[in-house]
């Protein structure tokens, strides 16, 4: 398929898809769908799509909410703190332990990530307010989980609607127990997606960690060095941060903190003294990186540890910030892993070459994983984000290889239609969409949870990624869909 026919096909698909909508919805969705190309110029996005706008009602968006962005993404993985889902019981239950934020600790004793703490609002809490109950929650946590290093209040929708003052509760209780308490106003109705939740959560880090009283955490035993860095925006899904960290340490850097996969409060407290912040998920943590730059003068750079091409580029970019000894070691690291990567590509590329992929994910992955697929000879022909902004799409333009259909906040109907029209060999998205495409007999990989595999970051992660994509595409199970008595065609 030549690039021209691909582009024409993609444009025709968009036109066709818009026909199903009532006029107002069609007008809206038209602006979120486009065809991007690496050669596009004079655009502040990619494929000219609009983003970060209200979802069209009634269309089965895949988006989440601000609470998901704060509790589920930013705060939830901080392992030595207890995160209270503040409000009715559902939110905490549905989001419990679903993101695979790996950590080391004794759960329920000194770490708490996979647990679910809820203030379990009842009608009387709605009518009379829940502040008193919240205060009592803190007291009970202190008795039963004495080794926690702090508590966050993750607000669910009703909190902001009934006029509760969780900031006041946090202030009083923090003084009482002598630990960090972080109130987060991440009610689900705020903003248009999980994105505002990330921002609100970042602001809470600024106000209650950086500007807060951390006297209960001893940081004096860590002496800063010239080579200190922090990993920002890596949630250690399936161990991603660990398989990234190892590379940075091998090139002579000292990773002082992980934000926020496998993170502890102390690591967050140590971060304002690092020399460089390394930002993986730009979308969810650019805010705190910018703040640290402004407030503490710490520069930040974006990097991408998916696939060897991007990993090598990123390692060199990071090393360039430091002295020659680091740069030399960086080259040693690259050289050390190259034979393994060559072997992985030699093994899997012939099995995957030319296979087409359509992506729909959140955060950084709709652009960051493109290189990893392309390293294996696979061709990404469609991508989109659940909750991106213009700056994400702008960055996407730099990562695509060919004419690519771009769909922002794509809904169930559109994604299904795009897949039917463009017929990729693999769809890579989330759990909600997974079985739709598998029913159609299409190989599928979850790119939020790595389908319970991973890590996918770094060199070791890429080997797993390659193996998993091969597993999905070349499994014999897809051939069974058609029964032997069905006619060909």
């Amino acid at each position: 398929m030549g690039p021209e026919t691909l582009e024409a096909k993609q444009k025709a698909a968009i036109e066709e898809i818009l026909k199903a909508y009532p006029e107002k919805a069609a007008k809206n969705r038209e602006k979120h769908l486009g065809v991007g190309s690496p050669n596009d110029e004079n655009q502040k996005t990619c494929g000219d799509v609009r983003s970060n706008k209200k979802t069209v009602p009634g269309v089965m968006s895949q988006r989440g909410c601000a609470y998901a962005g704060s509790k589920g993404v930013v705060w939830g993985p901080v392992k030595d703190m207890i995160h209270i889902s503040h409000g009715p019981i559902g939110c905490g239950q549905y989001s419990r332990a679903g993101r695979r934020n790996y950590y080391i600790g004794v759960t329920g004793v000194d770490t708490f990530v996979t647990m679910n703490f809820s203030s379990d609002f009842q009608e009387n809490n709605i009518v009379f307010g829940g502040d008193k109950k919240l205060g009592k929650c803190v007291d009970e946590i202190e008795v039963l989980f004495p080794l926690n290093n702090g508590i966050t209040f993750q607000s669910e929708c009703p909190i902001g609607l009934i006029g509760d003052d969780i900031n006041a509760v946090a202030k009083t209780k923090a003084k009482e127990i002598g630990k960090t308490i972080v109130p987060v106003n991440c009610e689900g109705f705020r903003g248009v997606s999980q994105s505002l939740g990330h921002h609100i959560a970042n602001d809470a880090v600024r106000d209650f960690i950086f500007d807060g009283d951390l006297s209960h955490i001893n940081t004096s035993d860590v002496t800063p060095t010239e080579y200190d860095v922090a990993i920002i925006g890596d949630y250690n899904i399936g161990g991603d941060t660990w398989s990234s960290r190892i590379l940075l340490e091998e090139m002579g850097l000292r990773v002082v903190a992980q934000w926020s996969g496998d993170a502890t409060l102390k690591e967050m407290a140590l971060t304002p003294k690092v020399k460089l912040n390394l930002l993986h998920c730009y979308r969810s943590m650019n805010y705190i990186s910018r703040h640290m730059e402004k407030e503490f003068g710490i520069p930040w750079i974006e990097y991408n540890f998916f696939g060897p091409s991007q990993t090598i580029k990123s390692l060199r970019k990071i090393a360039a910030f430091f002295d020659e000894s680091i740069q030399a070691k960086c080259e040693e690291v690259i050289a050390k892993y190259q034979p393994m990567i060559d072997a992985v590509i030699a093994k899997y590329k012939p099995r995957l070459d030319g296979k087409t992929v359509m992506l729909f994910v959140g955060g950084l992955r709709p652009r960051h994983v493109i290189g990893a697929y392309e390293d294996l000879g696979m061709e990404v022909i469609g991508t989109g984000y659940e909750f991106a902004h213009d700056d994400d799409y702008k960055r996407t333009k730099e990562e695509i290889f060919r004419s690519t259909v771009i769909y922002d906040d794509v809904n169930e109907y559109e994604l299904e239609a795009f897949v039917k029209k463009l017929q990729p060999d693999l769809v890579a998205s989330g759990i909600k969409e997974k079985y739709v495409f598998q029913k159609m007999g299409l190989p599928y990989r979850q790119m939020h949870s790595w389908d319970y595999s991973g890590p996918y970051h770094g060199y070791d992660g890429f080997a797993i990624f390659a193996q998993d994509m091969d597993l999905a595409i070349n499994s014999p199970v897809w051939a069974h869909s058609k029964a032997p008595w069905e006619k060909e065609g």
Binding site: P22, S61, G92, G108, E140, L161, G188, R245, T264, V344
Partner: protein, 514 residues
Amino acid sequence: MQEVEKIVNGKDLFKRPEYAEVLANKKQFESSMLAINPAKVDEIAEWTKSWDYREKNLAREAITVNPAKACQPLGAVMVALGFEGTMPYVHGSHGCVAYFRSYFTKHFKEPTPCVSDSMTEDAAVFGGLVNMKEGLKNCAAVYKPKMIAVSTTCMAEVIGDDLQAFILAAKEEDKGEFLPEEYPIPYAHTPSFVGSHITGYDNMMHGIMSQLTEGQKGETKQRINIIPGFETYIGSLRSVKSIVEAFGTDYIMLGDHSDQWDMPAGNYEMFQGGTKIDDAKDCINSSATISLQKYATSKTMKMVEKRWKHAGGFSNPIGLKGTDEFVMKLAELTGTEVPQKLKTERGRLVDAMQDSYPYMHGKKFAIWGDPDFLLGAVSFLLEMGAEPTHVLCHNAPNGWEAEMRALLDTSPAKDSLNVWAGKDLWHMRSLLFTEPVDFMIGNSYGKELMRDTGTPLIYIGFPIFDRHHLHRYSISGYDGALNLLTWITNKVLDQLDEDTKHIATTDYFFDLVR
């Protein structure tokens, strides 16, 4: 570093020495107590196993830790997906819908369609009428459902949106383009801060049954309505239908999602199976209605019994006795003999129970789940001579505790059997440490209890995320009881092998025949 001929994922990768070093290095920057003072962690971990901790834990009044319940709209979504071509529509923020869909999908390994009208800040201030008008229209245009079933999130409930008025307004404004006058859009208010997912089930079922049957009352037909309740076992729905069909009677299963959440591969259609809309409209004219879950349908059944004056009532076909009662109820309502097919099935079940009883007799169990599931499953444990030591129901409605107590009191071991209403799974942890049992029966949330206490977990309940295909089986009827018996007995046998497999020390008891 990976070896290309033996690429390993996180399970084995991080055991390698280079990663052990990375993780050990990281500790110097950590504030978790394991990094600072592992002995302190051991001390507290030990203390959490004590009676002192248990008392403090049971005294909790405010914080819920590791709940075993969900919120109302989840149940409403299940009801909607049990009706032909019906789109569940949740009036509120779309984050909730993302959660309902992923929660069900992780359990069933099936797609779960559901839309929301994506309310945000402005809707919080001005109400969600605009969202509802647009949302219903878009949903109807894009997905072309035969019916849209509207429920609410807590946001819509707190601001007090009026569903009935909003739906009327949406139809009025649409002027019949997408939402004609007769287009069925039943609704239910499902506040998350009242009851649990089973309350939402009840409210939505009540909404659909009461609203679709308006003006439909005609002559009574010899026909039985079956309401399954919040049933997460696809096979159970099929078992129940097969029992009713054995009587040769006309029936309507109201809310039958057995095809929706069990689609064959090869093709994807958004909606499959479900109660026919016409049947749902006519269900008021049936002669009887049987609800299989008393506590998940109390409001609905009040309407059916008081206003519709249907015969029937409740019957919980889990276990031998429960199925017997269901079968006898059907025999009574249809005025027919119990069919031979069911007599044979019963005989086979009893035969199997008599084959396996030594392995369940006297074994102590901890069990948790929804109230009606527990009444059935505990009854079955008692039928086998097992001892349900801890029976925990986080979302126990009024009346359940006394009913469960009365059931446990039929056991010779009654004095050591405990009912825990309104307690969560962190309470359960203390109970398991202080008064241990041999096995646990519950959902995936039990796996942390299994890890912490060492008690083997038998996966029966909802949700089950980390074991495959169990939801396809039945736990209802005689065949369902046989599944329960098989799963439990074989877990007991697995454990017996685990305990006796040690070479030259215990393996004399590692018998080939059991």
